[in-house]
Amino acid sequence: MTRSRRQFLSVAASTLALAGCVGPRVAAHGHRSSYTSQILKPGKDNTVFCWMDTALQQVRDQRVLTPRAAYNYGLATAAGFLAANGIVQAWEEPFGIGEGPRDADPEVAYGIAFAKAAAEAFQTPFLFERMSFLSGFPGSEAKSLGVTWGEAAARRVLEMRTGDGSEPSKANYYLGRYGRRTDPLRWRPTGPFYGASPGPAFPSFDRGLFPGHGMIIPWTMKSGEQFRVAAFHDPASPEFAETFDTVRRLGGADSTIRTADQSEIALFWEDGPWGITPPGHFLYIAMQLLQERDLPFIELARAFALLGMTQCDASICAWDNKYHHDVLRPESAIRARAPALGNPDPRVERDPGWRSFIPTPEFPAYTSGHSTFGAAAAEMLALILGRDDIAFSGRSPDEVLWPQLRGVVRHWTGLAHMAEENGMSRIYGGVHWDMDHSAAMTAGSALARQAFHTTFPRKA
């Protein structure tokens, strides 16, 4: 049979027109689907926040999972800063991206490089976002040079990151990268046994998520193993009995000792399984706080590059620890494996009906990704801001998974308080052991300190 060109074009046009009515680009600042609309005060929007918002929305709209989201944030923020810094030449950088033309517009270069790197990370061209961004700059030689240099700098960053281990890490298989434990602490897939309602539906007994993620080449760490933490408790030890009992009583769906505030904390920091994810939540908080400082453009770009890169490295550090130590979740221990743990403490007993308060993620427990992300972000923000004791308030950026959070505003006395509350949320929720949190806090803080002091020092 033959098809007329007219018929094809009319159907194609009608389909694309319907799509176009809703908008082919991410929501602009001011739209209710934009994250900067939730937190930026009037007049505070700028190039860095605009592109951060774009990345956050893509993570949400594509349902990018936490470790990949951290990787994507790191790639895009690093490329943007390196392009702008190549023109401004204000900071040393260890990647050898080189110098851009001094007459180029660094903000244009930032946006173009961010978009190009983010395009690779999210596999979408950001065509309309780029057009909208560039329309905000009047035509000039500086703009043209900025576009050209932004493209070139992003290409160098992408060449450097091609083959960094991120592509094969997408497969949810061990592929021999990490050995499995053979003792009773060995992690295993968990079920959908949680109590908070309404809450999201997700597959039961999924494979471990991204076992290769800890093998990705980091941005600021010497290797993914640099901040590998000490061995987990002996399952027969009094320390393990204590943590077992704490999580069983505090983190259970039907806990009688968890306070209403602790329950709210558990949901507030859940940030998953989709939405902007924990690293995105901390970048969102960083935008909220850094808008008050009115940093020069290049310093703001550097701040978000450091934050993005350390969130990526926090994901690598946490995933390396998770699959190296291969420790089971409280759900598996409490519901099924307690008798096999060999702990003489009578509190280490099996409770087949136990459910955690929030969903147990589909990867090993030790260490906590949440705590690593939170500690790294809090430490980095404190170093950028020059102080930790900044009292502030915040709401959940994504209320769709936990409608109970609508209207909830939490208050923190400082960045360390925020990070501690974030990490403890996983124990209140019954998905982590105490030691998952404490060890991750130490590692997260250490990697952020190292990144701040060594990655982009000011030029002499």
Binding site: V22, R60, E167, L175, V400
Partner: protein, 342 residues
Amino acid sequence: MRLRKTMLPLLSGVALAAPVMIGGTALAQDIPLSYERLSSMEEPFVAELGDVTLVLNGVLDGAFVHDTESSTDARFTGNVEISAHAQLANRWRVGAQYFGQYSTMDDFDGRVGDTYSDNAALTAGSVWGTLAAGNVSGVVREQTRRLRGIGNGALAFDGFLGAIGDVGAAYSGRFGPWVISGAIDPEGRFDLGAMSQRPHGTRDLRLSFRAISGDYTDADGSRGFHTAGAGVVGELIYGSSAFDLGTGYERFATSGPNAGRWYVSAGARTKTGMLSLSLEGHYGRIGDAEEVSAALGARYDVARGLSANLGVNHASAEATTGGVRITDTEETKTVVSMRYSF
């Protein structure tokens, strides 16, 4: 009656699954202990050869099918998907996929007796989207359809009856919040779609559009129609429940009789613990004739990869125009199965 074949959801990356012994012990054991043993059997089915990641997925499904107008039959279905993916030095992603399915009896898609069918495709993608060639006619349908029924629930007539040829080329790419897709076959039949999903407040909304210019063969297999259709699907997710509604119009044309068809399909699904449920209904008309279907689906996740599934599916339609039987279906089937996927 001709219904759409089960297509390989190539660009969506959804994997169906294949063999490995289940063993009766999985069911006999205490539930929280069985999945650990099953999951350990999956690792041998993936490998890395240089920069290429090879993955093998599969499903084994043993079912009892009861048709209200015939006896109860046993059915075995096994399928396997082999895929190879790599990122090139220029960051393009290339891949190859093969999907084969073996079934021992009549299934709801109309196959009879022992059958083996397969699909294969090659893909190449960059930030501008993914191009695929091969058995890719299901790409747009998979991206824009209402949610599938849970377990063995399958709603008949949901979507267009017309289809493009199995073999062709397809494209899928993301622009902002939208995923745009298209497929075309060598005869010029084409399928276009657009889908967007994002939260609005405490609810997650998905909206999709689809337009097709395809072919359809009547219930007797003797008369071919050209078809043209357009449809829209809306989906709302709240907590662990999802509700969706789809509607569309399709025109059947030949040198002889013509007919118009419209339909509305709706469904709800929810998951609580290891139990998932879906309930769907469909009403449509072809000319003056009604088409009605309903489906109830359930799945209980027993262990890693292992599930018990139920489907009760009813379909009724008999539409004739100008002496041509466009549809002729009257059946109610209950399908109970145990399924292992990896």
